[in-house]
Amino acid sequence: MTKLRNRALSRSIFVSLTPAAVLFTLFFVYPIVTLAWSSFTIWDLRRLEFAGIENYVRMFGDRAFLMGVRNTAIWVGVATLLHVPLGVYIAVTLSKKFVGWRVFRTLFFLPNVISVAAWSMMYRSVFNERYGMLNALLELVGLDQLTANWLAQTNTALFAIILSWFFNIGFYMIITMAEIASIPHELYEAADIDGATERQKDRFITYPILRKIVGTCMVLAVSISLVGFEYVFLMTEGGPANQTMTLPLYVYRMYRIPQYGYSNTIGLFTLLFGFAGLLLIHRGFRMHEVDV
């Protein structure tokens, strides 16, 4: 990194950072500070009282919360270990620009354009036991014993809901493709002269350069798993019997009861959960290191 040398530059950086700092202080620092202090209170519509660590004691004995932690960990796992690698792999493949690659790039990304409300209605229809597409397909190939009431059965709900979140790979694909587009061509030309195969070029040139963007995608994957509640809410509301409960959804559920203090305690935990994930990813992908 460039070391700061003069006053003018220092002033420029200050000016450059100010809008973000103002916005962030208003919309995030203030709410997060609220989150932090109110986690030590009983706060609902009737009262606001200091309660020490009562919320924390309650949280770790709350089965719905523990279920939320488990499921959120699964979401994060699926997103980082399955969605991101697949997205990156498809990005590398499409970047070879075979016939029709543009069409596929567009098709893959399109689901990300559809609103969550439409997606959840569509998948509720697909997973319906009576007229759903999935059961019809299973019956067609003679696997009748596998049919289920996917979203209402305790043993299938989580699987079904995670399966339907698959379209996120298009999001990681599009980010990675933009990165691939900025790799200097000279690197590949040099490899061609050395007689490298496609696979070797991918392995020794493309993937190493993508290290940081893959890390970024993983951070985003963790973020997506921790921030949004609408999708699960519209599909199952966290049921049956908390089988599909996630942390952000539980924050929402407790917020609506309304128990703001307890909701904020879980919100704070979620935030720390994400930050821990961020640190791990930074370590794993050596994101603080500077290339070349």
């Binding site: 990194m1 460039t2 950086i13 450059s16 950072l17 973000a20 916005l23 962030f24 919309f27 995030f28 203030y30 709410p31 997060i32 609220t34 989150l35 792999y89 498809i90 493949t93 620009k97 543009r102 596929f104 098709l107 893959f108 990304f109 689901p111 354009v113 969550v116 409300a117 439409a118 569509m122 998948y123 697909v126 007229y131 759903g132 298009g170 599009i174 493709m177 933009a178 587009a181 790799i183 590949y188 195969t197 496609e198 696979r199 070029k201 963007i213 951070v219 985003l220 921790l226 921030v227 509640f229 924050v251 917020y255 909701s263 979620t270 935030l271 994400g274 961020l278 500077v290 290339d291």
Partner: protein, 286 residues
């Protein structure tokens, strides 16, 4: 296989390497992306009954009432205009704020850099609902309750952290030789940013614009909390007039969902193609 250097082996290995992923890509694409879109479009031509009793079937008969209802819905054009204003403004603002803050943290070693970066990054892990009450208080205090400005400001702030992270990632991986040259030539900070850095980061530009625009276009949680009167309502709110606890007009809902979806789709197809193809025109990579 790849160790052999004969041309034939190289050819076959490469062919297999190209074919298998393509088949995989096609299969995945079809199952997970085309079907939902078809389902949504078909549903908009069905009747209520068909929508809640059938999954992937053709409409029978084709029902155009949904589109008629959507077109006749009062003030839909106003909410469309509102959403365009809100989405464009907040996308532009988010971009400006994020670029201005991501660039210095990715490039310069000033004290507090890592702390600023860490603090901004924490923003992407805050569950959106946990911000509800503070943001409502904030918007009301600022006197921006039930205004487009309030919603624009909220969206700009909410989508800032994720945009910051993406931009910082891009800035970190862009080679800095050009900037160093510019600095040696005596160009100032903002001149370097605008003249040298922004042009190289055009692919990131396109991607982020599309991502932020789509998110603001589809956002409804805060739209429901902060606006409401017809002159400030967004489309995401308008389309929900087709359902209530005991009554539902699904054809109208799906028809309006489809109409609402077209804008980001067109934006994506046109914009992404233009920027990326323009950038890589004439350059074959492999």
């Amino acid at each position: 296989m790849s160790e052999r250097r004969t041309n034939a082996a190289l050819f076959s290995a490469d062919t297999a390497f190209r074919t298998v992923p393509r088949v995989l890509v096609i299969a995945l694409t079809t199952v997970f992306t085309v079907l939902p879109l078809i389902w949504l479009v078909l549903s908009s031509f069905k009747t209520n009954t068909q929508i809640v009793t059938e999954s992937l079937t053709l409409p029978n008969p084709w029902n155009f009432q949904g589109y008629r209802d959507a077109m006749q819905m009062a003030n839909l054009h106003i909410s469309f205009l509102n959403t365009i204003i809100v989405s464009l403004s907040s996308t532009a603002l988010t971009m400006i704020v994020a670029i201005l803050s991501a660039y210095p943290t990715a490039r310069f070693d000033f004290t507090g850099n890592r702390m600023v970066t860490a603090i901004f990054t924490i923003g992407i892990f805050v569950p959106l609902t946990a911000l509800t009450v503070p943001i409502v208080i904030l918007i009301r205090t600022l006197g921006l309750y039930d205004t487009k400005t309030g919603l624009i400001l909220t969206y700009t702030a909410l989508f800032f952290p994720i945009t910051f992270v993406v931009y910082r990632g891009f800035f970190l991986s862009i080679p800095r030789d050009l900037e160093s040259a510019a600095q040696i030539d005596g160009a100032g900070y903002f001149t370097t940013l605008v003249k040298i850095v922004l042009p190289i980061s055009v692919p990131a530009f396109a991607t982020v614009i599309v991502l932020v625009f789509i998110r603001t276009w589809n956002e409804f949680y805060y739209a429901f909390l902060l606006t409401g009167s017809p002159q400030h309502r967004t489309v995401q709110m308008s389309i929900r007039f087709f359902t209530s606890a005991f009554d539902f007009n699904f054809p109208g809902l799906f028809a309006s969902l489809f109409l609402v979806m077209i804008v980001p789709i067109i934006l994506y197809v046109v914009f992404q193609e233009k920027v990326v193809s323009g950038l890589t025109a004439g350059a074959t990579k492999y």
